[in-house]
């Protein structure tokens, strides 16, 4: 019990009891809500021995406000509680409106928001292009001297993005060849064309899947890491510190990451290709009773001179896309940890998407070139 109400003709006698603490506010609120004003003309409040903290005092303040609006004129027997005086002294001015809350049903605003999105999309595309340009310029400038290429940073990033990714990339390369071999064996054996499983596995892995899946894994691992690292530095004002020290953050942070990935991704692709080919051989051996020598022979004739290179040539392009997307997203982080999460997610989504788009363009290009 925090308050008792007794009716004395048209007067409401209220007595406050106990400890009106913030931790009790739900109970206090419920009791205050239950008090009935009907028929009363005036109210007397006895604070008695009750102790109020600020939250309690606000609840009382709010209640008295309600009583006043109901036509009662609440008066205190003796002095009002000090906390209530403090609340009333603090209380003045308007309550700010809730932020946000867009009216979605308003057609005018819907059109406006489409326009805004379009403009924002255009601006971010331009900003992205500008970022690519700045990275290229910084790269060119850095190429002038070995020291400005920051070999230690590059080495660290090669280790983080390349060496530590070897196990997962190899495993995926192996599993891809397993999938291809199984699928191929099932379908091609219907035509007695078992031998073409080798073509399927080797060409599939070397031209397309080896590099594509490696790029997707690297985008998930390193694209997100780049965005998160640089984004956290941005939040911590480390980027500003670099600017202020006269160091170009693009040169110090972005160029080493781009360079490292340009080196690491082709090497990872080679690893994936290699494991994929070995896996294909093992599968052909166990599924189709093919000898390793036969597999190698067939593989030799299936693979054209260009097959391996058409796969590998895509790797640096994918690497550039992933590294620049990740870094650009990281640089765009402003102000809050939520923004960091949003842009890290965006980095992964955009880099995987752009890798796949680039791969599709390569497929068309290679067909036109008849490779």
């Amino acid at each position: 019990m925090f308050i008792t109400a007794r009716r004395n003709a048209e007067e409401l006698n209220l007595e406050l009891l106990g400890e009106w603490r913030a931790t009790q506010s739900a109970a206090i609120e419920a009791e205050l809500k239950a008090i009935d004003f009907s028929g009363a003309r005036s109210a007397r409040v006895a604070a008695g021995s009750a102790h109020l903290d600020l939250s309690g005092a606000w609840l009382l303040h709010d209640f008295l406000d309600r009583a006043r609006k109901a036509g009662l004129n609440p008066r205190f027997d003796g002095a009002a509680p000090t906390a209530l005086t403090l609340v009333e002294r603090t209380y003045s001015g308007e309550i700010p409106a809730h932020p946000g809350g867009t009216e979605w049903l308003d057609p005018e605003q819907a059109v406006e928001s489409i326009g805004r999105r379009a403009v924002r999309g255009w601006r971010s595309a331009v900003a992205g292009l500008e970022f690519v340009g700045r990275v290229c310029l910084a790269l060119l400038r850095a190429l002038g001297s070995f020291r400005r290429l920051r070999p230690t940073a590059v080495a660290r990033h090669i280790y983080d993005t390349g060496i530590t990714a070897i196990p997962i990339v190899s495993l995926v390369g192996f599993l891809i060849s397993v999938i291809l071999a199984y699928m191929g064996a099932q379908e091609l054996s219907k035509f007695g064309a078992d031998i073409f499983v080798v073509d399927l596995v080797t060409v599939g892995v070397l031209r397309e899947l080896g590099v594509l899946l490696t790029a997707i894994i690297v985008a998930g691992r390193s694209g997100s890491a780049f965005a998160a690292e640089i984004g956290a530095m941005q939040l911590n004002e480390e980027i500003d510190a670099l600017y202020a020290t006269g160091i170009d953050p693009i040169e110090a942070l972005v160029v080493p990451r781009v360079l490292a990935l340009l080196i690491a991704l082709p090497l990872l692709t080679i690893a994936a290709d290699l494991v994929g080919l070995v896996g294909g051989g093992l599968l052909c051996h166990s599924l189709l009773d093919m000898s390793m020598l036969q597999y190698l022979n067939r593989a030799q004739s299936a693979i054209a001179a260009t097959t391996f290179w058409t796969g590998l040539v895509k790797a640096p392009v994918f690497a550039g896309l992933i590294a620049i997307t990740g870094c650009a997203c990281g640089m765009r982080v402003r102000g809050s940890s939520r923004e960091l999460g949003r842009l890290t997610t965006l980095a992964v989504v955009v880099s995987i998407f752009s890798v796949i788009v680039a791969d599709a363009l390569f497929a068309v290009l290679f067909m036109k070139l008849d490779i």
Binding site: R21, A22, T23, S25, A26, E29, D53, L54, S55, G56, W58, L59, D62, T82, A83, L86, V87, T90, Y91, S92, G93, E94, I95, P96, A97, H98, P99, L235, R334, G335, S336, S337, R338, E339
Partner: protein, 255 residues
């Protein structure tokens, strides 16, 4: 009546380095207790130990006579509702507006209607002297002084009787720092708060503290403000013996 906060025999080691070596500290109800010490003396570590963020290698922390490390999870949860903390850099949640920041402890510990939540949060925002439009702003949009005030508003969200402040005025200009001190004195008097404050700011110490604890050689020497100034320990003499400090001490006499 046991002390609001009693720390005894705290030993803290980082590897071979001993930061606290049997540190004792007592805070009585209604006082403003300043903790000072050189950089690396372990002021913030002490605060983290008191808050239970770090387990000491030895020693006990008691709130109103109850040992922090003997409490059950539910008791610990309730204890956390009974004190407020501000951190050095404010530690406001950057993804939330000031108002939402103040509401975080309320949402965790209270069951309130949305209107009451909003009103109580705004009351706290007003109380610490922030303009109302600051309530809807995000931490990244606030100045350093406003962040300190917003952090105080969040610390006061549950109307705690005990308040921990980690360098509340560090990084503020002298005028803002003085205003913050005024605010603290006002709140401390009106709400009858007990305050434990880590600070480097001599002005803040002389304006607000009733007692001061100095961490030297891994132990704490605590005394009233008037007493501590006369302590013969060389570090304390060097700290309070500066030109600025002597001038203050002469002016405030015993505080």
């Amino acid at each position: 009546m046991p002390a609001v906060l009693e720390v005894s025999g705290i030993v803290t080691r980082f590897g071979s380095q001993t930061v606290h070596d049997g540190l004792d500290m007592q805070v009585q109800e209604g006082e403003v207790f300043g903790v000072i010490g050189g950089s690396g003396a372990g002021k913030s570590v002490l605060l983290r130990t008191i808050l239970g963020l770090r387990r000491p290698d030895a020693g006990t922390v008691r709130f109103l006579g109850r040992d922090l490390h003997q409490l059950s999870a539910a008791e610990l949860h309730a204890l956390k509702a009974s004190y407020g903390v501000t951190f050095q850099e404010g530690a406001l949640f950057t993804a939330l507006s000031v108002r939402e920041n103040v509401q975080v402890p309320m949402l965790e510990h209270l069951r309130l209607s949305e209107r009451t939540l909003d009103e109580l949060a705004l009351l706290k925002v007003r109380l610490v002297g922030l303009p109302l439009d600051a309530a809807v702003k995000f931490p990244s949009q606030l100045s350093g002084g406003m962040i300190k005030r917003a952090a105080l508003a969040r610390a006061l969200a549950l109307d705690p009787l005990l308040l921990f402040l980690d360098e509340p005025t560090t990084g503020l200009d002298p005028i803002s720092a003085a205003a913050f001190d005024e605010l603290l004195i006002y709140l401390q008097r009106e709400l009858k708060l007990t305050v434990v404050m880590i600070t480097h700011d001599l002005d803040t110490i002389f304006r607000t503290c009733s007692r001061v604890g100095v961490i030297v050689d891994g132990k704490m020497i605590s005394d009233t403000l008037a007493g501590i100034v006369k302590n013969p320990h060389p570090w304390i003499q060097a700290y309070f013996g500066g030109e600025r400090a002597r001038e203050r001490a002469g002016r405030t006499h015993g505080a």
